[in-house]
Amino acid sequence: MSGGQAPEDRFPTFRVLAQAPAWDAATRELVLSRVRPPHPPVYLNGHEFATATALVGQLLDLDDELAAHLAASIDHRLTEDETDGWHYDDMPVDHDVWRQVLAGLDDDARQRNGTTFVELPAAEQHALLHALHTSQDERWHDLNRGHTWDLLLRYTCTAYYAHPAAWDEMGWPGPAYPRGYKNIGIDAREPFEQEDRVPSADPTKDRDDE
């Protein structure tokens, strides 16, 4: 695949956390808590947590350390039942979906390779998820396949795009209170914002779409 710009190249020296002193206390405390070492999982058991970490790592192409961070924040949501306040009537409640998915990935991995999902080589994990994503079947194990995929990606993206590492690679300065913005408008920047180094590197172009 590819032809796109590596996400790390656009704002290589932009560090959102450098601005933390300018944030209000409530927000600063919250954001800093996301970069501290995570609590051990509560809802997921050790094997499930390892599977979730591998899954999250694949879903956003992240290294293990960051993936484990995100998996921990998902575990926290599942423990607290911190859902988005709704689920499809043909789906179980979110924490049951996660448990079923993690077991389902192991089933699929065993069928492919005779191993668990975590033990699969990364390329095989990717292929397995690719198959799950592009399958034409309505069901996957006991779940609605499309709704399941959307739920996994929604939880994972919510965790990652709440993390300063993600904001760095987007050039997004994060919290903005009490400072606000003074230079609004096209191509206007604040002193603490950085220019995109490769503005014409449109990631939607020159790609042999899979």
Binding site: Y88, C157, T158, G180, Y181
Partner: protein
């Protein structure tokens, strides 16, 4: 606008502290309180757009009122954060289930929970309905007729626009009008909309937004930080927490937060409501009241009525004609985005900036009835990831596209979906943590709905392309629930009458968005507040049902 006149009828903005503290703690601490056995004049379920406006108005007529809300009594400085994920607690995250032919995922677009209601995290657009919205069935053969007209709401629109206050350019659509405050400057996303609309021959205007442009009372000026959907820590964006409740408390209203109403009390002998059963700190209570207002939002209002079934109303309170929960509406809200080589940085400035209502009315040359509006929306990263993921991306590809964020501009449409009987709230088998059945929301679109979404998407693409955007992408979304307990001319058309009093139980009133028979393509909060102010005036002139005014069904 004369600030002096606004202050005379609603002092809220002057009752807030003038410094960064944002909350008048002394006012809250000194708040009047009532005992469960004090029979108050009115108990209000839900301190959101409708409930709060009703309380503020009636408190000024001397009514003794308790306002109950399931969520916290927010302190913007201490409780809210300038962060997307951290604002999750503003939403109603108690369970709800969704289904039907076109289920509506509520997502982070969910309704609010806490004093101030959904306006705590609404975007802030404050348009009016058009006169055509009130007589669609008669004039166009679709939707429903309201038992009131635009003229009934007009003076209340004007009053609430001053109290929020609303900023924007003079408005050419519907009944043309001006706004009390001049338009805000626009950011990159607004500029794209203006430029594209001009090139495509479409009229667009800045506003109307309920964000103060300048100091208003003790409220501060907007700092253009773009977190309006996460709660405004600045007190610049209007919500009842700062626009109506301070004045209500000053006039003797008690706000009872963190309190969940489970059922409406009812006396079979008189045929009247007696108050509300509620849960607080794990204990059950009953607040006596001479009148009950249900203002819990279009999902929780029908749910509470259905959960309040009794011998007289075996299918749910007020549900003699199977209307409770029905004719629920969402607006089709597709969002279309495009890429620019320039940096747009749509996260700067409030998401609500520029809009057009040029396509609001029925266009006889089109195969569909009614229309849509188009507005700027400026998703922050987590929400933007939904747009990118909806295109089928994941893994490295998703992150590459996300890292392109500063180059994207995004518009949203509001399509007037028609009221359909089968789109409804019912009770699910599933229970919440209090053991109360949760709401199930069923939704299916009709052909007209689908045609509107396609038409709106086409116009948004035209605007973005005319502005020089490329790589147009669209995500299908929904917004703004109304209906579910609609007002009608007779008890066979509606749950409540033109004054929003229940036909079946005259001391129950519904002042929230549930009563809307149609929805136009305007965001609803201003209309909800204006209607609640109208309802309050009617109640103040014709207050309590007298003992002789017993409902028809109650004699048995």
């Amino acid at each position: 606008m004369r600030y002096r006149d606004v202050r005379k009828r609603n002092e809220s903005a002057w009752l807030l502290p003038a410094d960064h503290r944002r909350t008048n703690q002394a006012l809250r601490e000194g708040m009047r309180t009532f005992g469960d056995d004090d029979e108050v004049d009115l108990v209000v379920v839900g301190c959101g757009a409708g409930g709060s406006t009703l309380m503020q108005r009636l408190a000024r007529h001397g009514w003794r009122i308790v306002g109950i809300d399931a969520g916290p009594f927010w302190d913007p400085e201490a409780d809210w954060v300038s962060d997307e994920a951290g604002s999750h607690k503003l939403y109603w995250t108690e369970p709800r289930t969704i289904g039907g032919g076109d289920p509506v995922p509520l997502g982070s677009n969910n309704s609010g929970r806490g004093v101030g209601g959904s306006m705590i995290h609404y975007a802030g657009y404050a348009p009016r309905f058009h006169p055509s919205d009130f007589k669609e069935l008669t004039n166009e053969g679709v939707g429903a007729d309201w038992p009131i007209d635009y003229a009934d709401l007009q003076p209340y629109y004007e009053a609430i626009e001053e109290e929020l206050p609303v900023a924007g350019q003079p408005w050419p659509w519907g009944v043309p009008h001006r706004y009390p405050q001049s338009p805000h400057p626009v950011g990159g996303n607004g500029e794209v909309f203006q430029r594209g609309a001009l090139a495509a021959g479409i009229e667009a205007r800045v506003g109307p937004v309920a964000i103060s442009n300048g100091r208003f009372g003790h409220r501060s000026h907007c700092i253009y930080r773009g977190f309006c959907l996460q709660g405004c820590k600045v007190n610049a964006k209007a919500s009842p927490l700062i626009t109506h409740l301070p004045d209500a408390i000053e006039h003797g209203v008690e706000i009872r937060p963190d309190t969940m109403v489970s059922r409406i009390g009812f006396d079979e002998r008189t045929g009247l409501a007696t108050g509300v059963h509620y849960l607080r700190n794990g204990r059950e209570h009953f607040q006596k009241a001479r009148m009950v207002a249900v203002a819990g939002y279009s999902i929780e209002t029908p749910r509470l009525l259905l959960n309040s079934a009794n011998d007289r109303f075996p299918n749910g309170m007020l549900n003699d004609f199977d209307l409770v929960g029905r004719y629920l509406m969402v607006q089709g809200a597709p969002q279309t985005a495009a890429r620019f080589d320039s940096e747009i940085r749509m996260y700067k400035a409030p998401p609500p900036e520029v809009s057009t209502e040029q396509f609001y009315e029925t266009d006889p040359s089109k195969p569909y009835k009614r229309g849509f509006s188009i507005q700027t929306v400026s998703p922050l990263p987590i929400t933007w990831a939904e747009h990118v993921a909806a295109q089928g991306h994941w893994g490295r590809e998703l992150r590459e596209r996300m890292s392109d964020y500063v180059h994207w501009a995004c518009l949203g449409a509001l399509c007037e979906f028609l009221p359909l009987a089968e789109n409804r709230i019912t009770l699910s088998e599933e229970k919440d943590r209090h053991g109360l059945p949760v709401a199930h929301m069923s939704y299916s679109q009709c052909d007209n709905d689908k045609m509107l979404v396609d038409a709106a998407t086409t116009v948004m693409s035209e605007i973005l392309s005319a502005a020089g955007g490329t790589d147009v992408i669209t995500i299908k979304r929904y917004a703004h629930l109304v209906g579910g307990a609609r007002m009608g001319a007779t008890e066979r058309d509606g749950v409540v009458d033109r004054e929003c009093r229940a036909f079946a139980v005259p001391n129950i009133v519904i002042p929230d968005g549930s009563v809307f028979p149609t929805q136009g393509s305007a965001n609803p909060a201003l209309s909800i507040m204006a209607n609640a102010a109208r309802v309050a005036d009617a109640l103040a002139t014709r207050p309590m049902p007298s003992a002789t005014e017993v409902p028809a069904g109650a004699a048995a």
